[in-house]
Amino acid sequence: MSASAVADTSFLIDWARYSRSKLLFKLFDVVFIPESVLAELRSERTLTWVAQGLEEGKLAVLPELPDASREALQLVARSRRLPVRPVDYPEAYCLVVGRELGYAVLTENGGALAVRDYDPNFASVEVLRALDILYRLWKLGHVESFRRELEVYERETKRLYTARDLAKYGDAL
């Protein structure tokens, strides 16, 4: 289990709506938020959640690292030549940092999830969606029922996991 993670915008704007969002810190000592992600947050709910996490030392702002930034831009350009949703800079940056620093990448972004699967350069990166996090919380005994917690999460965030997404946890559901 990674002790640190880096979160992108798609993950944060969902997770901040979840009533038990503090459970994230049962899995990670610190969750980094890249500057490029922080810059695109504007809603009171998300910013309040982020500000509280920063105050408590559970979240930290990740500065732009020149080498990671350069590779992220290359990844963005590469992904735009493919017939699948491209990855944008903030997610690309998370993937590069995740690989280089051994952080789990927290995302719900289809472009980022796809890159992790089809690009061998990122095959080693641990990419987690809220679905995966809830499953791990359940396995560790932090939530009573994976199925019920997932229902709560989907209701509160309007995130919808498809049958294909859920298939890998079929036995637990």
Partner: protein, 77 residues
């Protein structure tokens, strides 16, 4: 490049678009002023909240809240 995985993701994202189209509140979307209507329609078709937010002139999280809570567009990928 894993071509098989790439094709699988093309299919996954196509399925996601179908889900967004099916659950979206089209009456609400069609009633919006052009800037917002076009942004919401773009989001339904692509799932790209960042560009959709820019089209709407909103922050990324503001747009996602608007899309999921007001326009009934589920977040899939």
């Amino acid at each position: 490049m894993d071509e098989r995985k790439l094709r699988e993701w093309v299919e996954r994202l196509r399925e996601a678009r179908e889900v967004r189209r099916r659950f979206a509140n089209w009456e609400f979307i069609k009633s919006q002023p052009p800037k917002l209507r076009i942004a919401l329609e773009y989001f339904v078709e692509t799932g790209d909240f960042r560009t959709a937010a820019a089209l709407a002139g909103m922050g990324a999280d503001e747009f996602v809240d608007f899309a999921r809570l007001e326009a009934g567009i589920p977040l899939v990928y």
